[in-house]
């Protein structure tokens, strides 16, 4: 079947099987930011924004995203123009292996839109769906607090 999606701002027609997950489709067409970790909605490493809402793309059929705007971590910022959240993760030592990080950045970005002034406690609860085996969550949580502060005072990336 042919789907019509807007991926990171660009409209695309993509051929896919009816049983294909959104994660698989995205990785197949070159957006490898979303990671394949558990493929059962337990870890959040595959999180992307579908019409602005963070979802685990491994448990969403690609067909369900037909007609939607999909944003992956690649769409949030660029190597030379990081978003506020990406910058804060990079500068706070929040990135170790980095495999869980795209999912955390996507989740945090969408949450900060809802709540620009989060508490540490609230961020910890947002991250309940994002497993990380490297960091102990201390620095990722600090990174989101830092990003929120900077965004409120009008700054963004580097």
């Amino acid at each position: 079947m042919i789907l019509h999606l807007t991926i990171n701002g660009r409209e695309q027609a993509v051929d896919c099987e009816p049983y294909e997950t959104l994660l698989n489709l995205l990785r197949r067409v070159g957006f490898t930011g979303a990671k394949r970790v558990c493929e059962s909605g337990e870890c959040g490493a595959c999180a992307v924004l579908v019409d602005g809402r963070a979802v685990d793309s491994c448990i969403m059929l690609a067909a369900q995203a037909d007609g939607s705007r999909v944003t992956t971590v690649e769409g949030l910022g660029d190597l030379r123009d990081l978003s506020a959240v990406q910058t804060a993760f990079a500068d706070n030592g929040a990135v170790q292996c980095g495999f869980c990080i795209p999912g955390m950045i996507v989740a945090a970005t969408s949450y900060l839109e809802e709540n620009p002034e989060p508490t540490e406690e609230q961020i910890r609860h947002v991250f309940v769906g994002n497993l990380c085996r490297c960091t102990g969550y201390v620095k990722p949580v600090e990174a989101v607090l830092t990003a929120a502060r900077r965004m409120r005072s009008g700054g963004n990336g580097d």
């Binding site: 970790v37 500068d91 170790q96 495999f99 609860h125 769906g129």
Partner: protein
């Protein structure tokens, strides 16, 4: 060299951070080759069986399938999957595919097809007949007379006693423990049980294998050990080492699980057979069932002490379950004794262990490498001893811990590498760790003192516990690292490293060392690492070796390059090279003459005397200085629910020198978090037939952000004279801690001793007599 450090010691942004936060394709699987096939593995449903007949022809004929192979199609070469230096101290008891299966999940056959679905379908078309054999499903049964022999094949070698299912055996004694026990006024002797723990690297094992245009085998693979992997795959496939090229991209977590060669040999065989690129990737279920785990153990720990508080005997006896293969069997359990036992001065120390085969999941390397098991036993027993003698556990540890200048009597007897000489403690910041850590937790104010529960108290009771820890920095006498550095046309430098950054930040830390020596900012150092065709040899990322060992090789390479730069500058400035200073991207004399690195490199490349600036350094050592930790934890025990909630955990850690404090803290926080799971929630549940019943994150509980206690990390710097800028290791030591500290805190809270991990509510309630 400038005396004030500019780059080393700063919390610099990691050199790979930007590509990781943007999701830029950087991991093994973020990569695609035209014509790539997908491999799937058929695994054993039986814990122990012989394959009496296997026929893959129907699978091979399935549409889209390019190869379907069984043990009939591969040479029978025994090898080990343990990524260690040659000759590996692990038995050669594995085969790429074998006619016998030794646990539920063992490899039976493998298929490569154009789509994952076709490969999966083809697995169902493989005809296999098994002769089911009686299994060994409890390590206590392995050595029983008449137990089924797991390795009865004649080709395997290197096991201690295959007939009795003993993969390895250890027995060492310093002094005479029996005398020490006799001299003691008080003896504490208890049994401790520790479970399987899975690494759960978020990135599973994955390898993409293909033949390049010269017919050489290329392995793009998620590994901690690019060079060992290259040698081992060449050996297992019986092809020359020069025909194997290993590429380690970014790695999504290793923790020891990727100090194993598990997907590479199969992927390689398929790529050679099909002449197509082949991807073999474990699923999450595979990680939980057929990858590796932390070794389960039954430890018996005996400590004897005099009334005056001096220790007279320390005795640890261990039974280890290595599973069906002996990968890292000897050395992991060696560390169970050699890391903890030197921590407290004792004239009589004995360590004995049997590492036995079972038909259960495969144990292997896991961060801490045997030490977490040993420290759980030792630090629980030391706590008990302190209280039995009526002293404060903090004071008892203060009085007995190893001092700077002491030699470690155990290391020589137990040395894993070739360093059969006592290890001298040249640095030891443990006193400062104890001081600052106890203050941060509020030790004296908050100790409950093991008071029995008052009838009207509860249900939430708090207590404080602690432990001390040590580790090593590399394997003493069994490490080699090299680095090379070249100066580029824009006065930047390319640093080439054989070491493997697996998320630890070593590329960054090592670049900081180079930048410091060369007087340039960090962004002027480009790091190339982990590719056996393009960088120099290195043992790889394990044993907490990279900062300490590879760090020295980088220091030497950068100094070599700096010498060459200064010599050219000397000619350009007409000054004595010896007296010149390199800093701020220029070379200056005391008389004020100066030349920029840019001018120097142009002179080198295009001037009169053409020359290339290129430095190299290699490093090997017999030293392995331990980092030290004093860990403190406050817990809250719910005596009705049986839950243990850690509230605040303080890690005061002496690492010699924090080369990058943010990275160091991250290593500690991550280690502690993994081990909180080990202490409280993580457990592989096995069916009576030996099948893993909880191979998902839903059923195997690792901690999430909301489960975490407050973590405080205190970096203590007692400079290590043999380390680069005074540094020793940081990555592993803290993982040894939370379990004993929590067990001791639970005792402080409610007066029970938990000696069986994980400390789940059922065990708490049982110990409280409430079940």
């Amino acid at each position: 060299m400038a005396t004030e450090l500019r780059v080393v010691g700063t919390p610099a942004r990691k050199v790979d951070a930007a590509k990781l936060v943007t999701g830029y394709g950087t991991f093994t699987d973020d990569f695609f080759l035209p014509g790539m096939l997908h491999a799937k593995i058929l695994t054993s449903p039986h814990a122990h069986a012989r394959i009496t007949r296997i026929d893959t022809s129907r699978a091979a004929d399935h549409p889209g399938v390019h190869a379907a192979i069984s043990h009939h199609d591969v040479a029978r070469i025994p090898y080990t999957s343990a990524g260690q230096s040659w000759p590996e101290p692990s038995p050669y008891d594995q085969y790429i595919l074998d006619s016998k299966v030794r646990f539920v999940g063992d490899y039976v056959a493998v298929v490569a097809a154009e789509t994952p679905e076709a490969a999966e379908d083809a697995l169902g078309l493989i005809d296999v007949e098994y002769e089911v054999l009686p299994p060994v499903l409890d390590m206590h049964d392995s050595m029983r007379p008449g137990a089924p022999v797991i390795h009865d094949e004649p080709e395997s070698h290197g096991m201690y006693d295959a007939e009795r299912n003993v993969a390895a055996h250890i027995e060492v004694e310093v002094g005479a423990v029996a005398d020490g026990v006799t001299e003691a006024d008080t003896v504490v002797s208890e049994d401790y049980f520790v479970q399987y723990q899975q690494h759960t690297c978020l990135e599973p094992h994955v390898t993409i294998a293909w033949l390049d245009e010269d017919g050489r085998l290329v392995l793009r693979t998620s590994t901690q050990i690019p060079y060992h992997c290259r040698r081992m795959v060449a050996f297992a496939l019986d092809i020359p080492v020069r025909d194997v090229h290993v590429i380690k991209p970014r790695v999504g977590g290793g923790f020891g699980n990727k100090q194993e060669v598990v997907t590479e040999p199969l992927a390689a065989v398929l790529a050679i057979k099909t002449r197509r690129p082949v991807k073999l990737e474990y699923t999450r279920r595979d990680e939980f069932t057929i990858a590796r785990m932390r070794h389960p153990q039954h430890l018996t720990m005996t400590v004897g002490a005099r009334r005056d508080g001096s220790i007279t005997a320390t005795h640890m006896k261990v039974l280890t379950n290595t599973g069906p293969y002996g990968t890292h069997a000897l050395t992991v359990t060696g560390n169970t004794g050699s890391k903890p036992l030197p921590l407290y001065r004792s004239p009589n120390i004995r360590f004995e262990a049997d590492i036995v085969y079972t038909n259960l999941p495969i144990s292997g390397a896991f961060r801490g490498y045997g030490a977490p098991q040993g420290f759980f036993a030792l630090e629980s027993a030391i706590d008990e001893m302190a209280l039995a003698l009526g002293s404060d556990p903090l004071e008892f540890r203060r009085a007995n811990h190893i001092r700077k200048g002491d030699t470690d009597p155990v290391s020589a007897a137990l040395a894993e590498g070739s360093a059969k000489k006592p290890r001298v403690m040249r640095s030891n910041g443990l006193p400062e760790c104890l001081e600052r850590g106890s203050e941060a937790i509020g030790w004296t104010a908050k100790r409950r003192g093991g008071m029995p529960l008052r009838p009207n108290e509860g249900p939430l009771v708090r207590g404080l516990g602690m432990c001390c820890l040590m580790q090593g920095s590399g394997v003493a006498g069994d490490e080699l690292a090299a680095a090379s550095i070249k100066m580029n046309e824009d006065a930047s430098f390319t640093l080439m490293l054989g070491s493997a950054d697996i998320g630890t930040g070593s590329d960054t830390t090592l670049a900081q060392i180079a930048a410091e020596v060369l007087g340039v900012p960090l962004e002027k150092i480009l790091v190339r690492s982990g590719d056996t065709d393009h960088v120099t040899f290195d043992y790889g990322a394990y044993a907490s070796s990279t900062a300490y060992i590879t760090g020295q090789s980088v220091l030497k390479a950068a100094e070599d390059a700096r010498r060459q730069i200064v010599s050219v500058a000397g000619q350009m400035l007409q000054e004595d090279a010896e007296a010149l200073l390199v800093a701020d991207e220029r070379v200056s004399s005391s008389s004020g003459k100066t030349v920029t690195l840019q001018e120097i490199v142009m002179e080198c490349l295009y001037g009169e005397e053409k020359t290339l600036i290129s430095g190299r350094g290699t490093h090997a050592t017999k030293e392995s200085p331990p980092p030290f930790v004093a860990m403190f934890v406050e817990v809250e025990v719910d005596i009705e629910m049986g839950t243990i909630r850690p509230i605040h955990l303080v890690t005061a850690i002496d690492i010699g020198k924090a080369l990058n404090p943010a990275i160091c803290e991250g290593q500690v926080e991550g280690a502690v978090t993994q081990s909180l799971g080990y202490a409280l929630t993580e457990e592989i549940v096995l069916s009576p037939e030996g099948r893993v019943l909880n191979p998902t994150f839903m059923d195997y509980k690792i901690l999430c952000a909301a489960d975490m206690p407050k973590l405080t990390t205190i970096l203590v710097e007692d400079p290590e004279p043999t380390g680069p800028f005074g540094a020793k290791s940081v990555a592993e030591v803290a993982i040894n801690g939370p379990a004993p500290a929590i067990a001791n805190a639970v005792h402080d809270a409610v007066g029970i001793r938990l000696r069986h991990l994980p400390m789940t509510p059922d065990k708490v309630l049982e110990a409280l007599g409430r079940l």
